[in-house]
């Protein structure tokens, strides 16, 4: 399996997800949309498994590879939300967001290299990154919901902001686990569990953003607008942490978390 086979898996998956998203608007097609979304997920996972086997390492190192996982987890996060709370529009959003990341990987793939440097050869590698990607996907859905609430002031706002709350709790759980796994791994690889490396600094900022949201919501449940802005702000922090640090002048050439600049 190679990166140029990506299209043959991504396209059928995207078609499944898109049809599922349309069907989701009709309650009588509920089952079909669940099955179709799952079918897309299975097709997509075949590519990930194939890449994993042919690379002889988990495809988690380059930005392109983490985007792969992100576009994989988004429909899953969307599906869970859809099944749990029956939001008929959520699959459209998760599909759209996933599609954006698929397109980036098709049109702007980054150098995909087989070699895995010694620092990344650790049992902590896969859980650390996969849990983080899962958290990012859940927060992505939460952010979309917050934007939706800000733009369309629906009557059911009370229940919709509750969706944000649920997603933030779930996402934060994954975020905390990802961060702590990272700390334990850093101790084994670099000698200290927290070194305020630029990526770690922004990871802390992201974590604080979502923790502030949780406490603010508990304190002022009626101030939903502020809460939505907080959620969007936290997601911006998350983006800086994820790929912003690769471009920030303060972090450039200064972070031990940048792995993809070499050939």
């Amino acid at each position: 399996m190679q990166w140029n086979h990506f299209l043959y898996f991504a396209f059928p998956s995207a078609v499944c997800w898109a049809i599922a998203a349309i069907l989701a608007f009709k309650p009588q097609h509920y089952r079909k949309s669940v099955v179709l979304t799952l079918a897309g997920v299975v097709i997509f996972s075949l590519f990930i498994v194939g890449m994993w086997m042919s690379l002889e390492r988990p495809p988690l190192r380059t930005m392109g590879e983490t985007r792969l996982w992100y576009s994989f987890f988004l429909p899953i996060a969307g599906l869970i939300t859809f099944m749990r709370w029956k939001y008929k529009w959520i699959l459209s959003f998760s599909t759209l967001l996933s599609l954006i990341f698929i397109c980036i990987n098709i049109f702007r793939p980054e150098i995909h290299n087989k070699a895995l440097m010694p620092a990344l050869q650790s049992p902590w590698f896969a859980p650390h990154v996969i849990v983080y990607m899962l958290a990012y996907a859940v927060f992505g859905v939460a952010t979309i919901n917050a934007l939706y609430l800000l733009i369309r002031k629906t009557e059911k706002q009370a229940s919709s902001i509750a969706l944000c709350d649920n997603l933030v709790y779930v996402g934060s759980a994954f975020l905390i686990v990802g961060m702590l796994f990272g700390a334990i791994w850093a101790k084994a690889a670099w000698g200290h569990y927290w070194s305020w490396d630029p990526k770690e600094t922004w990871a802390a900022a992201t974590w604080m953003g979502y923790i502030i949201y949780i406490h603010f919501r508990l304190h002022k449940p009626s101030e939903k607008k502020t809460a939505c802005y907080l959620l969007i702000f936290s997601f911006i922090l998350l983006q800086v942490c994820w790929f912003g640090v690769n471009y920030l002048p303060a972090a450039r050439g200064n972070s031990v978390h940048v792995y993809s600049q070499n050939l």
């Binding site: 997603l167 759980a173 900022a205 502030i212 200064n254 050939l263």
Partner: protein
């Protein structure tokens, strides 16, 4: 952004007060000396902090006014203030905490470039820890089983942060360069001072396993990898081996992982060589499928002893072998302790060795000699407060599970 509801004004006032105090302290007395809180000062001040917390908590039972400190408004404002500093930290290039700023001017004097040892950061961090401690005490004093997740999350964070802050001065990170077959017990710290250790390390062997050699195309004039922006390469995993690069068909006829380059007047030839300084070489036959030209010759990445060799394919491009990437590097060592014990072990990246309270990490080697390096560089780390931090981390991991379960509320 915030509606000015009771509680927040107090919070912002306290945080700004601490921030301004921090700035003033920073400007007049400079940063906090990183080793200020050495044992036993850290232990004493840590215990005092905890006693202070307990007293404050006990008083707050009677004096309702100060219960605010264990409330949401205090949590949100102190977290937000700390977040602001973390964002500033993320946007400014950070300098090592041992770097002297006292002669600098302007922005640098604010200490924001050494955020973790600056007064505003430390004050706001301690204030945050204070609030977190009060929250934990208040919840514990009226504990119900449904608070389990809450306690794991908050107490876990408190313990981890407490251990990290008070233990930071006791953390020792030393660097030791060990030459082959010569026991070494002296290391250098961050200030480049020599430290003698109660243990000695002797390097028995140093090895690097490499990934298979790669071939790629280089522009003869600019030296850029081709095609521009999306360079292609092939990894030569077996021999004989066939591959394609752009419109060139490559046939790898010979693979010498241990080779010596021998130059006769005008040709460079590679032969098998198992001695020190051997390099990697491939003999490649190339055939251009578009214009049917054929080239063949040696391609080698070279090293400190032998020259590199590229195969010039045409006017535009050459075939080269980039330096081989290390897959694993390891030092076989013998470690002697003062008590007379000796221990044979292998140290590699991600697999540190624990001896007598120290963790020994593989850090570096002589990069010009590569796999023929005659020395190995280790980092030695001692962190006596690590168990405290890890117990906090463990509690937070359990807390995260509770966070996950507690999420689906009825809508």
């Amino acid at each position: 952004m915030w509606k000015q509801t009771p509680g927040y004004i107090e919070g912002w006032t306290i945080c700004s007060g601490l921030f301004i105090t921090g700035i003033v302290l920073q400007l007049y007395s400079g940063k906090i000396a990183p080793d200020l809180l050495h044992f036993p000062i850290n232990l004493i001040s840590g215990v005092l902090f905890l006693i202070g917390l307990l007293l404050f908590h006990l008083i707050s039972i009677k004096v309702k006014g100060i219960q605010w400190f264990a409330g949401y408004a205090a949590a949100v404002t102190s977290l937000s203030s700390l977040l602001l500093l973390v964002i500033i930290m993320g946007l400014t290039r950070q300098l090592p905490s041992s770097y002297d700023l006292s002669r600098e001017n302007g922005f640098v004097r604010t200490g924001f470039m050494q955020m973790t040892v600056s007064w505003p950061f430390i004050l706001l961090m301690l204030y945050f820890l204070w609030i977190l401690g009060l929250v934990v005490l208040r919840r514990l004093s009226r504990f119900k089983w449904k608070d389990t997740g809450f306690v794991f999350n908050h107490l876990g964070l408190f313990i981890a942060l407490f251990g990290a802050v008070w233990g930071s001065a006791d953390l020792q990170r030393l660097r030791m360069t060990v030459s082959m077959d010569t026991p070494e017990w002296r290391a250098t710290n961050e200030k480049n001072e020599t430290v003698e250790l109660p243990l000695a390390i002797e390097l028995k062997a140093f090895t690097i396993d490499e990934y298979p050699p790669k071939l790629m195309l280089l522009d003869n004039i600019t030296g850029e990898a081709l095609p521009k922006k999306e360079p292609v390469n092939v990894s030569v995993e077996t021999c004989p081996f066939e591959a394609e690069l752009l419109d060139w068909k490559l046939e790898i006829v010979k693979d010498l992982p241990y080779a010596a380059g021998i130059s006769n007047s005008d040709t460079l030839n590679y032969v098998e060589f198992h001695g020190e300084g051997a390099t990697s070489a491939l003999y490649v036959k190339a055939h251009n499928v578009t214009d049917d030209t054929r080239k063949e010759g040696w391609v080698s990445c070279g090293n400190y002893l032998f020259p590199y060799a590229s195969l010039r394919l045409n006017e535009k491009m050459s075939l080269i072998m980039p330096e081989r990437e290390p897959k694993r590097y390891a030092s076989d060592v013998m470690v002697y302790t003062k008590s007379g014990d000796s221990k044979e072990a292998s140290i590699e990246v991600n697999k540190p060795l624990s001896v007598a309270g120290w963790k020994i990490y593989q850090l570096s080697y002589d990069e010009t000699l590569g796999k023929w390096s005659r020395y190995s560089v280790f980092e030695l780390v001692k962190d006596p407060w690590l168990p405290v931090v890890y117990s906090g981390i463990g509690m937070m991991l359990v807390g995260a599970v509770f966070l996950f379960i507690s999420a689906p509320k009825k809508i």
